[in-house]
Assembly symmetry: C2
């Protein structure tokens, strides 16, 4: 199994900044997240307070960052990390169907906007999933729902349709998937996940759908779901000024590390997190 | 007297970032520091981990920042702040011969490199000065020494030579002043400041000079000299994640707020400090 010095989760300004500094420090690292980078960047109409980039649009900023990663030959590994386990001396990350190992982890996933659906937390692992790649095969021959908020949700739904019997797609944001016999789009608002031992029904503002699983695909998840045992304050991971969390070797930066939600603050914290990881690795030797 | 919402001290990445955000939030602010911006920026050979600006040189980065300030019509007030007094509800700043008032202050002066000279602290205010503009006239008809480390030290020494009898200039870094009958340059290393009630002698590695005052001109000073009462840790001001200090309404960011000394970390903290100041102003109303 591949073992990295640093695993960086998230491709917004915090994760990219961490990657640039890890690269400058010649560490063996992996950058995990959407290859489209954070959709929140591209959506920004105009960024007027990022030092060095006057009056840039979000789209231009995202292009600059992509070009910078390319120039440094830093690949983005387009895998979604569904869980990070602190296993004593190092970390194990579940990324799609793969497992990765790393001595340190930097969480820069962004913060989960909005609330969990009623039933979402209660049924997690029993008919609620955050990872299509991980869990698709459990629902072969079944009907599943996808609540699509993430940049990759449409693609993941199309992948699911290759495996399961039927996909009902409920778009929240982002692009729509291609409809097919096995994948239908419902412009309804999910309001509750219902079941007994496992999930049976997705209730929307317009009716109910019988399904075996609800894939809730957001760009960010609740941090204590991603990293069991990490100290949180609501949707944020608690950090100190060096971006350390309560788990040695685990760092957090950017929106998930608290307000304000600002590009340059995230970029600055990503840099600090990477240098703290470097320092942690040095002390570990 | 002019009263500002926010006084920002320092024109490195932290101070400029704070100014851009204060401007975006429509605050009445003043940006105080060298109009050449931080000399530490221009000196950087190449910056390879600033997200959005691939492989930029320090000089190019400084030019970008200047252009951005100009585009936003944010003036740099080229005054050196020698003291910040927390006077209960607001702050009074001594900037050269002027006094300014502000409801909040953001300290982004950079960190003092190196150590104080023996005697420097003991004689501060009794023949040791950090501000030529403030104290020149006290030494009319006298001989003074200038230890020049700051970007503006050469200019300040030339100004001093117009007022006092003789200036002995000891260059540490930066440009040299123009020599004249009243201003002579000594390539000697100052090692101690000596006196009884007040300063009488500057000792160097090559001899002793009889003088009435030693002007120690650095870009950054010790923070507790700049802001009496602020909580410090060595040369750093203690801050929390929101860049708050122990003094309500006073914020610090960039190198003076602790390591690592990195451009993007400073820029990020400047943004956070400005937003914390905005929030403090809102709560004060």
């Amino acid at each position: 199994m591949e073992r990295f010095d640093i695993a960086i989760i998230g491709t917004g300004p915090a994760g990219i900044s961490a990657a640039l500094t890890a690269h400058a420090r010649n560490k063996r690292f992996v950058l995990l997240g959407s290859t489209e980078l954070s959709p929140k960047i591209s959506k920004a109409h105009r960024i007027d307070n990022y030092p060095g980039l006057p009056m840039i649009t979000g789209r231009e900023f995202a292009e600059q960052l992509k070009a910078q990663l390319a120039a440094m030959e830093i690949p983005v590994t387009g895998k979604q990390v569904s869980a990070v386990y602190a296993t004593g001396d190092f970390f194990t990350l579940q990324a799609g169907e793969e497992m990765l190992e790393a001595d340190t982890v930097i969480v820069a996933t962004g913060v989960m906007q909005g609330k969990l659906l009623p039933g979402e937390e209660a049924f997690l692992g029993r008919g609620v999933s955050y990872c299509a790649t991980c869990d698709a095969r459990l629902y072969r021959g079944k009907t599943v729902a996808v609540i699509g908020s993430s940049a990759d949700a449409a693609k993941e739904a199309e992948f699911l349709a290759e495996i399961v019997e039927n996909v009902l797609y409920f778009p929240i944001s982002g692009e729509l998937p291609s409809e097919s016999e096995k994948l239908r789009i419902f412009h309804e608002k999910p309001v509750e996940i219902i079941g007994e031992k496992t999930v049976s029904t997705l209730k929307t503002d317009q009716g109910e759908h019988e399904i075996s699983c609800v894939f809730v695909l957001r760009d960010a998840v609740m941090p204590d779901k991603l990293v069991p045992g990490v100290e949180t304050d609501g949707a944020h991971i608690c950090v100190d000024l060096s971006m350390r969390t309560n788990i040695p070797g685990l760092f957090a930066c950017g929106d998930i590390a608290g307000k304000p939600y600002q590009y340059v603050k995230s970029a600055g914290q990503g840099n600090v997190a990477a240098l703290s990881a470097v320092s942690y690795l040095q002390n570990k030797k």
